[in-house]
Point group: C3
Chain length 129, copies 3
Amino acid sequence: MRELKIVSRKRNEMIDITRDIQKIVNEEKPGAGIVIVYVPHTTAGITINEGADPSVQRDIIETLKKLIPESGDYHHLEGNSDAHIKASLLGSSVTVIVKNNKLILGTWQHIFFYEGDGPRNRRVYVKIN
Amino acid sequence: MRELKIVSRKRNEMIDITRDIQKIVNEEKPGAGIVIVYVPHTTAGITINEGADPSVQRDIIETLKKLIPESGDYHHLEGNSDAHIKASLLGSSVTVIVKNNKLILGTWQHIFFYEGDGPRNRRVYVKIN
Amino acid sequence: MRELKIVSRKRNEMIDITRDIQKIVNEEKPGAGIVIVYVPHTTAGITINEGADPSVQRDIIETLKKLIPESGDYHHLEGNSDAHIKASLLGSSVTVIVKNNKLILGTWQHIFFYEGDGPRNRRVYVKIN
């Protein structure tokens, strides 16, 4: 298992980690298999989406904010219930296929760490299977 | 890794691909393991849900449309931000257990490709691990 | 593949199954690998989130109820379309990394079975790969 350190700068932010994951695959040289990219946090998630136009990230972040507002009828007292809910909707891991030591992503696909309660120091676990 | 070609007919559509995935498992004969069904697109997703009553698919599609409307305060100029957001909420892959060369699904479970910006020619990657 | 039996007590409920999954890993002793925790139902899901403060579970459940109400313009006649939709949003499986026969979860992470149409007798499949 490998570990990746991430530093988020905003409360809500999508951070492109595709290159970092590919770099780990380059180093581990599994040939073929699958990679699990796992977020060990409960106020952050992970998602695969378009990496070409940053407006897509902006639209995802703003739509999630509208659906699950930061302030609401929440009982959890830390002010980040919205981030917990987003974490469950996006999920805590993604699985990507590897072939010839390359992540098999679609043309527009990038892997994004989704920060829901930043800025914070975060980690991602990477397991090749 | 195997590839499946899908042709969608509507803008929003759930296409049952369970038989196609089982057919690939029949051909690959892994015995036991897991199957990753991966969508390499950013305006489509994949989900497991009820296959018996088509009303369930209709209710999923219409509820997602209501939550994430096609038109809204979006910055991405291609008119498909809703589809990008749905792709992240549903996810880009599902993992199914295989035993004796059979997908181990629940009684009502089918695997659906979720089209969010059709009609289009689409692909799904299938990896047995 | 191992199986876990779950008895839910409410219509909407998050049931912590972390210990049960760790117990299966203790018995199977894979050393290192991944665990797939799979829900074979279409009105229940699975998610990883905070296990320390029960208010987080309450906030997730109540926010999902508000976003996807039990009663609405649904065509499926069994009165549980909301549960089907939540199942697709949360997902039917989670993947967790195992190292030295331990689930590698974050400090606050627990694995929850998400009941959307209880009370019912439910099952979860556990596959170590």
